[in-house]
Symmetry: C2
Subunit: 359 residues, 2 copies
């Protein structure tokens, strides 16, 4: 199935993507601006379902790498968005046929729209995570043997680079230090894969899901029903906390927005720990949910998703936990994105409170 | 004029290169090992004078980038040396015809020999500086509009990258942080230029000069004459100090070996300030000589050149100042490599004590 993506749906799609972005993926408003500009200049983008991808398609993911806190002040241009695709295509020596999202998240669900529009290429209705994660190797294609490398990146000044590495960890390490030096926000293209591989490795229909979640919020507001409940239902998740943001401690270190936020509820205080995305939600020693499942902070009334860099004292919020793609719960996946990877000595806690025992 | 470079001359060439390396360019012994291995495996290298370069030659410089202090412990392999040349050639889309040295300095005069041998390519009898400097944009080709970019680099693990930047400063910045992340010592290839440009922009006959300086030291030792005097004569320089190393303060910061050394003479104490290479020589407030002219530390008896990372307490040394290529004294060049660039608020002092007044 394919559909036309035009400027009119970008706001809803970006909102839904910010929900799945679990606090990361950047400000959906900024991402939407860029996508709308590209669609206005180049016309609508064709979105192609994974089932309709030709086996021999050459699919690239396009994304912003860096601290979303920085991107708010350093808006990317369309030139910057397409530069890494051109650099990678030249390095691969064959034409790119489809653009895909590496993750679902405000900016990183809309930048690929801008890239597809500007390049005149179709966009795949899928992404590499079904949520957002902070490091570039943290995509399901990694589990299928797809490497980020060769990876191209570009900054707003016109600098580009193509990395060819021995593994995704080295791609992340080298690209990350370059990213910091280049101003903490760069555009990347990588994870080149065939249509056949993309069908196996990506999370299907996730752009459609973003759009549907974003529309569900707007529809619930219009119908004067609870939009947070609409999100919970769409994601088959559960609401785990409600309260007021009383403290946000945040730093931009090593190219990431890291920190902790405290949310004061009626009886308890919830602590959220994040690295671009929310990783751990706990009340005292009681862990409610952890990565890889989704921890989503929504405005208590409007269900507008709040990114980690958007957290402010006094915000009334509700926190939703939701299941991630089941493939994130395998042992290899948990080693890559579980709490232990981020330095938290605890098992993974699923959205419903189940504790995962290591294999 | 062309000549055959075989393993038997490598030690003398590396010794002479370490003299011109002014403390930087890495341990000549290590560089010589690698070149000898390559020559043993692949046979001698043809060294071609600039006058014999075809106008349409594609010349690349090959070098080690990083802290020489690290390279002593992390020896490069031949694979690592040729990897950036292959990566850059693939990116340029045409075959490389000649290899050149970016600088004259222990390792960076011998790594290009290893690269040329392993690639079966001729080596140009020239280099980009006529001495060594710590940052990659600091070559005479920069003054002729040749950019380092596209620049390829590789590490011993098999990671490679090709940078395409807006200027040499960005090439330096991005490559430097990647270099630090990759272990503080990488192999680079860049400054692609035609034969016509190489003829204008490089320092002619500098490999021959290295060999002749190295041989002059050995001949003087054999003849029981003063080998330091042989160096002074060969470089048309002057001996500015003699004494004992009493203090070396050194750090490996931001990918460089930086520090100060104090040498106690009969009446005075000389302070040498270095960033990979010796930059400033002074006794108290009296500046004797500064970059871009050459400050060379030699063993007092044998005239064996001592690199900045080889400086040790108790060494008896003699310090020689010598003129650099005259092109380093133009205003644009002084802005790039004069004392001010390195944070020393003083005019350039030539080897003979002349103070250069800014234009």
């Amino acid at each position: 199935m394919s559909w036309e993506l035009s400027a009119s749906v970008v706001a809803d799609l970006a909102r839904g993507a910010a929900v799945l972005g679990t606090g990361g993926g950047g400000d959906p408003y900024i991402g939407a601006l860029l996508a709308r500009q590209a669609l206005a200049e180049h016309g609508p983008v064709t979105v192609v379902g994974l089932e309709d991808l030709p086996d021999d398609a050459l699919v690239l993911t396009v994304a912003m790498m860096g601290a979303p806190t920085v991107m708010v002040e350093k808006l990317p241009s369309l030139d910057e968005v397409v530069a890494p695709v051109h650099a990678l295509a030249a390095s691969l020596g064959r034409p790119v046929t489809h653009i895909a999202c590496a993750e679902a998240g405000g900016v990183n669900s809309t930048i690929p729209i801008a890239a597809a529009a500007a390049l005149g290429l179709p966009l795949v209705d899928a992404d590499g995570m079904g949520r957002a994660f902070p490091e570039l190797q943290m995509v399901l294609p990694t589990l299928y043997g797809v490497t980020a490398s060769p990876l191209a990146f570009a900054d707003e000044k016109g600098n580009t680079a193509v990395l060819s590495t021995v593994d995704n960890t080295w791609t992340e390490r080298i690209a990350r230090v370059a990213c910091v030096e280049m101003g903490c926000s760069i555009m990347i293209a990588g994870f080149a894969m065939s249509g056949t591989t993309a069908r196996d490795a990506l999370v299907p229909a996730s752009l459609s899901a973003c759009l549907s979640i974003g529309r569900g919020i707007v529809d619930a507001r219009a119908a004067k029903t609870d939009p947070v409940a609409a999100v919970v239902e769409a994601l088959r998740g559960r609401e785990v906390f409600a309260g007021k943001v009383v403290d946000v401690e945040r730093g931009t270190t090593a190219g990431f927005a890291r920190g902790n936020a405290r949310i004061e509820g009626t009886d308890d205080t919830l602590t959220l720990s994040f690295q671009n995305e929310h990783l751990i939600a706990r009340t005292g020693d009681d862990v409610l949910v952890t990565t890889p499942d989704l921890i989503i902070v929504l405005d208590a009334e409007s269900a507008e998703p709040i990114t980690t860099e958007g957290l402010r004292y006094g915000q009334r919020v509700r926190v939703v936990a939701a299941p991630s793609d089941e493939r994130w719960h395998g042992p290899e996946a948990l080693a890559m994105v579980g709490p232990g990877y981020f330095g938290y000595e605890m098992p993974s806690h699923r959205f419903d409170g189940t504790v995962e025992v290591a294999a």
